[in-house]
């Protein structure tokens, strides 16, 4: 939100305590050339659902994730935004290899993954996951030193170096002086501090990829930015490839370079963060943006959305957002939309983005033609630009 407080830096010299990283955090990191640190191609996960009617009934499947492809580049933060049930957590766990995908493949540094115990060990040293609830992800009976020592020892740090390595990790996540935190139990730390310990634990194995599943959702509002800034620092200084999963699109815009929007297990839109929030093309993204509280917005633009949550069990053909979409067309019911390029790096899976010639054939009613002409992104100045139909 254009909060009244972020007028300018002159007003507020004391608030930004780290001017160097402030600069760094906002600099758009150029897309690094070369191989992606972690790449997912056509990842799919279907869970078998026990159906009433006994064993003779046909097996039903819950489509948690369907055909998701994404790439994580070093020194960049990619964000996946979606609601509960969108499949983002299942996606994270597939990327961390806790859940085996039903289809699709993963490539680590360009190499397809091999099976086997040793390879899993190596993978754990390359890809780490930070979970949502800091108090649940730490064993309450062990001290912080245990939580940090285990990954260090498992991945080869000699015992003589253990103490200094742990202290270095704690300093890395801005828990200074480290001695103050080493012997504490999880319940003696605050949520923000504990989440930093969680990140330190993930960093202990020196991964190249850090997956963060809603890392700040359970923290107090005033300390969320601290943790997000830490992730931004890690991107800069350690050149980590970071995946930031969240339901809060504002924080995704703050931290991430690119955003993927997921709905009902599919990616519906992907774009650089600024483009996505300034010109959302998919109706679901527009709905998300209008639903997020934003006092900077002039006009209340909530579309009337009383749709039901998406059907994940054996969804039929057709776009999954169609029941809730105010611009749904006949084709949306019949066929799943392909991905269209809207702008540089900006892709949308929506029939409304089909090129003009195709689209005319798809629209059936006058109101849909009119709706398409009106369809445009929400801008904060309230000035609307007409988009050619």
């Amino acid at each position: 939100m254009n909060s009244p407080c972020d007028r300018s830096d002159e007003d507020n010299p004391v608030m930004s305590t780290q001017p160097e990283t402030a600069q760094a955090a906002t600099a758009r990191v150029p897309a690094p050339s070369g191989v992606l640190a972690l790449e997912a191609r056509h990842l799919t996960k279907h869970f078998a659902v026990r159906s009433a009617g006994g064993a003779l009934r046909r097996r039903r499947h819950l489509h948690a994730v369907d055909d998701v492809s994404l790439g994580l580049a070093r020194g960049a933060v990619t964000s996946v935004v979606g609601e509960s049930g969108s499949g983002k957590s299942v996606l994270a766990r597939m990327l961390a290899r806790i859940i085996a995908p039903s289809a699709g493949e993963l490539l680590l540094d360009g190499e397809p993954l091999a099976l086997g115990q040793r390879r899993r060990h190596e993978y754990a040293a390359a890809v780490q996951l930070v979970l949502q609830d800091p108090f649940a992800s730490m064993n309450p009976v062990h001290r912080v030193s245990h939580h940090l020592a285990r990954p260090l020892l498992i991945h080869g740090t000699p015992r003589s170096d253990l103490d200094s390595a742990m202290k270095a990790l704690l300093r890395r996540v801005a828990l200074d002086p480290p001695e103050q935190f080493m012997d504490k139990f999880p319940h003696e730390l605050s949520g923000g501090q504990l989440q930093r310990v969680s990140i330190a634990r993930a960093l202990a194995v020196r991964p190249g990829v850090l997956l963060a599943d809603e890392p700040v959702s359970m923290l107090d509002v005033s300390i969320r930015l601290g943790v997000l800034n830490l992730l931004a620092e890690l991107r800069e200084q350690e050149r980590l490839a970071i995946l930031y999963i969240t339901h809060d699109i504002a924080s995704a815009r703050y931290l991430a370079d690119d955003i993927l929007v997921m709905y009902a297990g599919e990616v519906v839109e992907r774009a650089p963060s600024i483009s996505l929030t300034d010109s959302p093309a998919h109706p679901y993204t527009q709905l998300l943006l209008s639903a997020a509280p934003d006092p900077g917005r002039r006009v209340s633009t909530t579309p009337a959305d009383r749709g039901a949550p998406p059907r994940l069990i054996d969804p039929g053909p057709g776009c999954r957002f169609q029941p809730r979409c105010p611009h749904a067309m006949e084709i949306c019911r019949r066929e799943s939309p392909p991905v269209f390029d809207v702008a540089e790096g900006h892709q949308v899976a929506c029939w409304l983005q089909a090129p003009a010639s195709e689209r005319r054939g798809l629209l059936t009613t006058k109101s849909q033609h009119a709706a398409l002409r009106r369809l445009e992104p929400i801008r904060d100045k309230g000035v609307k630009e007409a988009k050619p139909p």
Binding site: M1, S3, A25, E83
Partner: protein, 391 residues
């Protein structure tokens, strides 16, 4: 920025306040967790709720916002104990000039509390899945409530009332046959709201009703709540940790920190011109959705352990504007001259020069102009040693 613009569909709240009657008064409330434990969950909190008003109570963990409200209505669980204060509920007047009964909730016995609960004050709890009975249908829930408080209603009357309530919150009467687990999160919350309105109470307390819901459902529920409030005119106490929700909802906002009330103001004043450094920091913790991307810092440090609250002003270790007085004396909550706003901060009440960002003019609300820093010097304070470490 004008917050008014985003509420075009609602009547300006101060236009509505013709009867500025108080409906719930809390004075000097102190709540401890465990007698003699030294854990002060709420310290000397004052709260006044007027008829038909929407008061947002904002704060983070340990702020005591839920504790304050539950203790005032005697619903606080073990080991909470009220150790000081007064809570008065002004009941509905019998007629236009009829006498108003004032009930002292802290001194009330069980029977009296039962008479007050649900018919005068009701609560919408945080997690509807946990609050609704999993083994009975929605219809049975309504029946329970109405049988307990309106035993004279017949079965048909109860059913009619239940249907009416469900329609009021936007659910079809088919839902009466469902159990709690068959409903979505948003539907369950609507059922909770309908139950809370069953006896047309004067005060509805909403304790973080949308925390467990996704953004889109949250928006729907909030709009539903706003329209119900406009229609039925009850007073609402909305507890939340997410200040941004209160923009469109609240008439007034009270901010709490470490069990104390630190600021209270009209909603648009608070957003446009915060006075307390904590409020300012909190508002500065929401990344913007538009405009240039720049680094933000939120507030350094973390909310204090309630057993070891810093002396003086509890916020002073995290406050970038702290002066020496803040470490030794706790600032009282006082009204600012010339307005109904209240702040508990030595910067405003101790004769100190006020930093520009905490002294923006309130007039920005009506005129829509951009606020300018006041002529008062913008003080540059040295960073308190130790601030910024550990968090």
């Amino acid at each position: 920025m004008s917050a008014l613009g985003s509420r075009v569909t609602r009547v300006a709240p101060w236009a509505r306040r013709t009867e500025a009657d108080t409906v719930l008064e809390i004075r000097g409330l102190c709540v401890d967790y465990g007698l003699g434990s030294g854990l002060h969950a709420v310290s000397n909190a004052d709260l006044v709720l007027h008829r038909g008003e929407v008061l947002g109570l904002a704060g983070e963990s340990g702020s005591g916002k839920s504790t304050l409200v539950y203790a005032a209505t005697r619903l606080l669980r073990q080991p909470g104990v009220v150790t000081a204060g007064e809570v008065r509920l002004h009941s509905r007047p019998a007629g236009p000039d009829g006498p108003i009964e004032v009930i002292d909730l802290l001194a009330a016995g069980e029977r009296e509390l039962k008479g007050v609960r649900w018919s005068q004050i009701s609560v919408v709890l945080q997690s509807a899945l946990n609050a609704l009975n999993p083994v009975i249908t929605v219809r049975a829930e309504f029946d329970d409530v109405m049988k307990a408080h309106r035993p004279e209603m017949s079965r048909a009357e109860r059913l009619a009332r239940a249907v009416e309530l469900l329609e009021m919150v936007g659910l079809s009467s088919d839902r009466l046959r469902n159990h709690a687990h068959e409903l979505s999160g948003g539907q369950r919350q609507r059922v909770m709201i309908a139950l809370a309105l069953a006896l047309e109470p004067q005060v509805v307390i909403m304790d973080e009703p949308t925390t467990a819901l996704d953004v889109v459902t949250q928006r729907e529920i909030l709009e539903e709540v706003i329209s119900l409030r406009d229609r039925l005119g009850f007073a609402m106490l909305f507890i939340t940790h997410d200040l941004s929700l209160l923009i469109e909802l609240a008439d007034e906002i009270a901010v709490m920190y470490a069990g104390r009330m630190v600021e209270r103001a009209r909603a648009d004043s608070l957003f446009a011109a915060p006075r307390h450094p904590y409020t300012y920091g909190l508002l500065n913790s929401f990344p913007p959705m538009h405009g240039e991307r720049r680094a933000m810092t939120g507030i350094a440090g973390s909310p204090p352990d309630l057993r070891a609250v810093p002396g003086g002003c509890p916020f002073h270790p995290r406050c970038p504007y702290a002066i020496e007085r803040c470490a030794t004396e706790e600032p009282p909550l006082v009204a600012l001259p010339g307005s109904s706003r209240q702040v508990a901060c030595w910067l405003h009440t101790g004769g100190e020069p006020v930093p520009g960002e905490l002294a923006r003019t309130d007039a920005t609300v009506a005129s829509g102009e951009a606020a300018l820093p006041t002529a008062a010097a913008v003080r540059r304070l040295p960073v308190t040693p130790g601030w910024g470490s550990g968090e």
